[in-house]
């Protein structure tokens, strides 16, 4: 063990000495002698913010040309590698680029934890990670904190091979801060013997209420999943949360319509009140019991469902439009690749991103790891189709989907959405009050310091 008690004080002293330069005008004014020890720690952990670069305008950019002669080690950091795609891609990349050794480091067991761990490293200016796996909803937050290299040039160079909707999730203040790695979009699974293919949400809800075994299950627990489920309906009804200028537009007739619709669905039996406790996994397990007609979930469920007694009894459809009068639309999930500003090997990182987004590797994304590719051609590849028979539906969902509200304060916006939607669904707050509160809270969030 590389630890002896006597060495600690020396190391602390050494650590304290190395601290220089990172301070803000305000902290300088208020720190007193007595707080000197505290200051050390404050500075150690990065002043609670990133480097002193202001805004996203002058951010350092990743140079596409730097990939050419890249060599050395590359560390990719992300959450749990359930499908094996992170390690698999790193290994394949290393094999193809012998000069670079890429490895994957699992920094969090859950998505929330992976974000916390990434933030802690970035705030501490750690050079441990060159690439961070970014949930699509983190990109603007990380970009605004100055933690990511500007990838605009790289994305422009690779644009032809990437599905446009997936690029929208990496965009913040007119620049691209990441490259899409694999995407995700909601699908409707339905029992083809009992209910009809969902063409509109109104039809789905009506069919679901017709018989006890037709019910619809979705993610209604008070968390990010409910935000996604609500936004899918809102977008397909033509509503929005923020407009293109970033103004709050959620207090709208569409929002009210969708909320009333969802609440009515619970009252009339289109959906069980049990959905108020469901996340993705509970939704899947409930549908696997065979007691339901429709399920909203992600593509990974397909393989799992086929391993149950329900194999052959269900079909897959893209998310429908609301009532036929508006376009079908969903919400994009998936993961982007961001390059840390503290990376010591950005050239290798660019090289890795180029590799991961090639049409060839994107086929492997689907074939080897059952994830949704960000390259359109991959969806019509015969091997991919054999592995993912619903690839056509998935592509339709992905292409029609929009990102969740793009904002550095997205977590607060999402909370304002799922808390208020939940209040309406559980029947504790009326629609009108909830919509006003939602809009108010999102405005407050946007006005955050």
């Amino acid at each position: 063990m590389d630890f002896t008690p006597s060495s600690i004080p020396m190391r602390v002293a050494a650590a304290t000495k190395t601290i220089t330069g990172c301070s803000t005008p305000h902290s300088r004014r208020h720190i007193t002698m007595a707080a000197a020890a505290l200051t050390a720690v404050l500075l150690l952990s990065g002043c609670g913010g990133g480097p002193a670069s202001q805004g996203t305008e002058n951010a350092a950019a990743a140079d596409p040309a730097s990939a050419a002669n890249a060599s050395g080690n590359l560390n990719i950091c992300g959450g749990k590698d359930a499908s094996g795609i992170y390690r698999g891609t790193a290994a394949a990349f290393t094999k193809e680029n012998p000069g670079i050794t890429a490895k994957f480091t699992e920094i969090g067991a859950t998505t929330d934890e992976a974000r916390t761990q990434a933030v802690q490293r970035l705030e501490g200016k750690s050079t441990e990670c060159d690439i961070f796996l970014l949930d699509v909803i983190w990109t603007s937050e990380f970009a605004s904190q100055g933690w990511l290299l500007d990838q605009t040039k790289l994305v422009e160079a690779n644009k032809d091979r990437l599905i446009p909707s997936t690029l929208e999730t990496t965009k913040f203040e007119d620049k691209y801060w990441g490259s899409p790695f694999f995407t995700n979009a909601g699908l409707i699974y339905y029992s083809k013997n009992r209910v009809s293919r969902p063409e509109t949400w109104t039809q789905l809800y009506a069919d679901a209420a017709k018989a006890p075994g037709n019910g619809y299950v979705y993610q209604g627990k008070q968390y990010e999943g409910l935000t996604v489920n609500f936004l899918e309906l809102l977008y397909s009804a033509g509503g929005e949360v923020l407009d293109e200028k970033g103004e709050v537009k959620v207090d709208s007739p569409e929002t009210r319509k969708v909320l009333d619709f969802m609440a009515e669905g619970l009252e009339k039996g289109s959906a069980d009140r049990a959905v108020l406790t469901y996340n993705e996994d509970a939704t899947r397990l409930a549908y696997e019991s065979g007691d339901y007609g429709y399920e909203r979930n992600w593509p990974h469920v397909y393989r799992l469902l086929n391993a149950t007694k329900l194999a052959g009894t269900f079909d897959v459809a893209p998310l429908p439009s609301f009532d036929g009068s508006s376009k079908a639309s969903g919400v994009l999930g998936g993961w982007n690749l961001g390059i840390s500003v503290h990376s010591t090997n950005p050239g290798a990182a660019v090289s890795f991103i180029n590799f991961a987004t090639t049409p060839e590797w994107q086929k492997h994304v689907a074939i080897d790891f059952s994830q949704a590719p960000v390259n359109e051609a991959a969806y019509s590849d015969p091997v991919v189709l054999a592995k993912m028979p619903f690839a056509k539906e998935l592509l339709a969902s992905v292409k029609g989907a929009k990102p969740r509200p793009v904002s550095p304060v997205y977590p607060q916006i999402s909370q304002a959405i799922h808390k208020n939607v939940y209040a309406v669904l559980s029947g504790t707050v009326g629609t009108d009050e909830a919509v006003k509160k939602m809009a108010e809270e999102i405005k407050t969030a946007k006005a955050s310091f």
Partner: protein
């Protein structure tokens, strides 16, 4: 030997004895002034507490002080590296918010329900474990099992037990024709809190039971024999002898259980994510600090939680009595 070096040196033993015997009060001892021994004893006390206090100061003081500093600032979530000193603003806005007081009330409701159930049940369990009967070792192990389960896993277990159609509880209720089988327990106001309280009682009653059991161990058989001779009934013996003698152990269990219950996080986080009136103070702090990365505001909420818990603990120690209060009152 270490013993020799640590011991305060030769001391007139007989002198101490007579002093203690004649003047029962501590003040008497002080007044008569056995200075050498006094100083030696104080030195020993300092030496014996030093390892713990130094470790705590080294490890805990800096992060705690840092959190205090953070709570006096705001850190921009929109612009890189921007922060400003705001004094107590984070505290005043937290105290003016509906969320804080809702979480405050819900946390106290949870703590009140779960701790009182745990103490009653824990005392009963301890009495049971103290009985001499065959299979006591088995009972003792079984009773402790829940406490040994990792908290998050126990939360997941309770979540699935109460899931409509899938769970143990809901299935059994349906099979028995009882109501509740089709209720989404965690999706309803009131029921959700009940499940969380039940899960906490299940998991942590063994903690209380164990402390109280150890308290029972130091009550001697003679005490009971004396009560028996006086003709006291079992219930009278329990109320007038056992319970008062158990007070230090019960108060101790109450302090630590209440402290933990007031900081409850895992259970509501896994089971409801704070929906249906189950958001706790710690969850609110977590959501600001971690999810929203409002570092100043979140730190202020953490410190408010901390102050609340400390206040309750101190009130407990002062008014519930027990050995800790006696120690705390000694300032010699």
């Amino acid at each position: 030997m270490t013993l020799k070096t640590l011991s305060p040196g030769p001391r007139p033993a007989g002198d101490v004895r007579s002093k203690r015997r004649t003047s029962l009060g501590r003040s008497g001892l002080k007044a008569s002034g056995t200075n050498v021994r006094d100083r030696a004893e104080r030195r020993l006390a300092v030496r014996m507490t030093a390892p713990s206090l130094i470790l705590m100061a080294l490890v805990a003081a800096v992060p705690i002080g840092y959190a205090l500093w953070l709570s006096l600032n705001q850190y921009s979530v929109r612009t890189a590296g921007l922060s400003r000193f705001v004094g107590l603003d984070n505290y005043s806005s937290a105290l003016a918010s509906h969320e804080w007081w809702a979480a405050f009330g819900q946390t106290f409701l949870f703590a009140g329900l779960s701790v009182s159930l745990e103490l009653v049940l824990g005392t009963a369990m301890a009495l049971l474990l103290n009985l001499a009967f065959k299979g006591r070792a088995l009972l003792r192990t079984v009773v402790l099992l829940p406490y040994a389960i990792v908290t998050v896993v126990s939360a997941i277990t309770w979540e699935t037990m109460f899931q409509p159609n899938l769970g143990l509880v809901t299935n059994v209720l349906s099979a028995l024709g009882l109501p509740g089988g089709d209720v989404a327990w965690l999706g309803e106001q009131g029921y959700a809190m009940a499940v969380i309280v039940l899960a906490d009682v299940w998991k942590t009653t063994p903690f209380a039971a164990l402390l109280i059991l150890a308290g029972l161990q130091v009550i001697s058989a003679e005490t009971y024999e004396a009560a028996e001779l006086d003709g006291a009934g079992k219930w009278q013996t329990f109320v007038h002898i056992t319970l008062p003698l158990l007070r230090p152990a019960i108060v101790l269990a109450a302090i630590f259980r209440t402290m933990d219950a007031l900081r409850v996080f895992d259970l509501p986080f896994v089971l409801t994510r704070g929906a249906n009136g189950t958001e706790s103070m710690s969850m609110l702090a977590y959501s600001q600090l971690r999810e929203n990365r409002l570092i100043g505001e979140g730190s202020a909420l953490s410190i408010l939680t901390f102050l609340t818990v400390m206040a309750v603990s101190i009130v407990y120690i002062r008014f519930a009595g027990g050995n800790i209060r006696e120690v705390a009152k000694e300032d010699q």
